[in-house]
């Protein structure tokens, strides 16, 4: 079995009076694609944001690459963010900058190389997401699907080991959904990255997942392969999968 590179242990998180997690336990293995599913507003994205230090947690511990997140200073956090990248839900491209400047942003912050090398890297990652030659466009000129792909290009620019996807296919048309799913898969194959994908799109889940985790009642209620999920006796999980048009054992 591949080694665990990320682990959540007994993590609790609340916003004011509202508890999002009471006891979150989850391991992520090197090289796998783990999807996190669950109803809207149960805090799936919170999971990702805690992992790269965008949100703090109240109790428990999160380890990434063997290091304790709560003990990290700014420098360690910066290093962590060069190893773990995140694709935000709305892509979160900087409106005031061109595509090229957007992708160069992390390269500059992490002192990636000379300007020439950066230019080369920009065209490289744009080709990886099948959008070569759009360096000079502004985010406002791109469609939703294109924004996601540029966002993805920006995330992979610094060659992260782990990519976090926050609802990568939400709000996209079926063609773009398939395209993004294909990209997630091909990045994993080509670059060997570990992916954590938050989604409630069941097509995505069954296309790309090695293992899936269900967030339910402020904890991870299930972790396992899609096949295990289909035959699991937790009713909520089966309903969730069925509701999303996934195929259940009994349907076959």
């Amino acid at each position: 079995m591949a080694e665990n590179i990320i682990s959540f242990r007994g993590v609790a998180k609340s916003f004011g009076d509202k508890a999002v997690y009471e006891e979150l336990n989850l391991d992520v293995r090197k090289g796998e694609t783990l999807t996190i599913i669950g109803g809207s507003g149960v805090g799936k994205s919170v999971c990702l944001k805690m992992l790269i230090g965008l949100m703090t947690f109240d109790q428990g511990s999160i380890h990434a690459f063997g290091e304790d997140l709560s003990r990290m200073d700014n420098r360690a956090l910066l290093k962590l963010r060069s190893r773990i990248a995140m694709l935000f839900q709305g892509a979160a491209l900087f409106d005031s900058m061109s595509v090229e400047e957007n992708i160069k942003y992390p390269l500059i912050e992490h002192n990636w190389g000379t300007p020439g090398e950066m230019d080369k890297r920009v065209s490289q990652v744009l080709e990886m997401v099948d959008m070569p030659g759009i360096q000079k466009l502004k985010p406002a000129e791109l469609s939703g699907g294109m924004k996601k792909r540029v966002g993805l290009a920006r995330s992979i620019a610094i060659e992260p080991e782990v990519i976090l996807y926050d609802e990568p296919t939400t709000g996209l048309d079926p063609v773009n959904v398939r395209r993004i799913n294909g990209l997630i898969l091909s990045l994993q194959e080509r670059l060997g990255v570990t992916s954590i994908v938050v989604t409630h799109d069941m097509d995505t889940v069954f296309t790309i997942t090695d293992r899936l985790a269900l967030v339910h009642e402020r904890r991870i209620a299930f972790v396992g392969t899609p096949a295990e999920a289909k035959s699991h006796d937790l009713r909520y999980l089966r309903e969730f999968i069925k509701g999303g048009k996934g195929v259940l054992e009994e349907d076959i």
Binding site: G53, R81, G90, A92, F94, Y105, H110
Partner: protein, 253 residues
């Protein structure tokens, strides 16, 4: 303690922390020339037209009022003197701050607030940078620097406008008003006004940025926060103007 006060002290605390972080970022690492110059241009230089307009007309209307108001006392000859002192000590800095506050401060909240609700602020952090360094510090530094300069422009234009109307209303020569104004404005008056405007500039930028960074609730939230910022900035300018004026008068009369 009731919740309004709690909120108030909370805000003061947050702004204090944001100020400290901005100062730290200003002196840490390579100086962010590009971002600061960009903000100087957008917030500072581009505000010159509203400043000139407001100051010019204020100077003119002030001398109209004084010329007529002083006449019963046979003191209309002093119009230029009063206009100059009023503009340089009080109206120049305060009016400029209110205008720039409305124009620039609310703009900061709208811009940073939109970035916040679309996760762009999170993205800055996720990509390895610091939002205080990239967004807050350049704006605070730029406007703290730009507002005294704009105030000087306002003083100049306000006095010129005042002088122009005084010449016609009181029937004195251009040279007379000019000399009168020059004699009545002391260097302390100038420093008094500019000192206040440094502080106003800081207030405008920090409140604008702070309220942007705490904006929640999508586009509706951005709209609300922007309106709020204008109120917060205006109120804090009025109150601190009184406090600072009292302080400066206590120091050198």
């Amino acid at each position: 303690m009731n919740s309004t006060w709690k909120e108030f002290f909370n805000a003061v605390g947050e702004i204090t922390f944001l100020t400290r972080a901005s100062i730290r970022e200003l002196f840490k690492g390579p100086f962010e020339w590009k971002l600061i110059i960009q903000q100087l241009e957008l917030g500072g230089f581009d505000s010159w037209s509203v400043t000139v307009l407001a100051a010019g007309f204020t100077g003119m209307v002030l001398s109209l009022q004084f010329a007529i108001g002083l006449e019963p006392f046979g003191a209309s000859l002093y119009t230029g003197k009063l206009v100059a002192v009023g503009i340089v000590r009080e109206l120049g800095p305060v009016l400029t701050a209110l205008l720039v506050g409305g124009r620039v401060g609310s703009g900061y909240t709208a811009e940073i607030g939109s970035m916040n609700v679309t996760e762009q602020v999170d993205a800055i952090r996720a990509l390895g940078a610091d939002p205080v360094r990239k967004l807050v510090m350049p704006r605070v530094f730029a406007i703290t620097l730009a507002l005294p300069l704009l105030t000087m422009l306002a003083d100049l234009v306000g006095c010129a406008g005042g002088a122009f109307i005084t010449m016609h209303e009181v029937n004195v020569t251009w040279r007379f008003v000019f000399e009168q104004m020059r004699e009545s404005i002391w260097i302390v008056d100038l420093l008094h006004g500019l000192g206040k405007s440094v502080f106003f500039g800081y207030l405008i930028a920090i409140i604008g940025c702070w309220n942007g960074l705490r904006t929640l609730g999508g586009t509706e939230g951005v709209g609300l926060a922007t309106t709020q910022t204008v109120v917060y900035i205006s109120v804090s300018i009025f109150i601190s103007d009184f406090a600072l004026t009292r302080l400066f008068l206590a120091i050198y009369g």
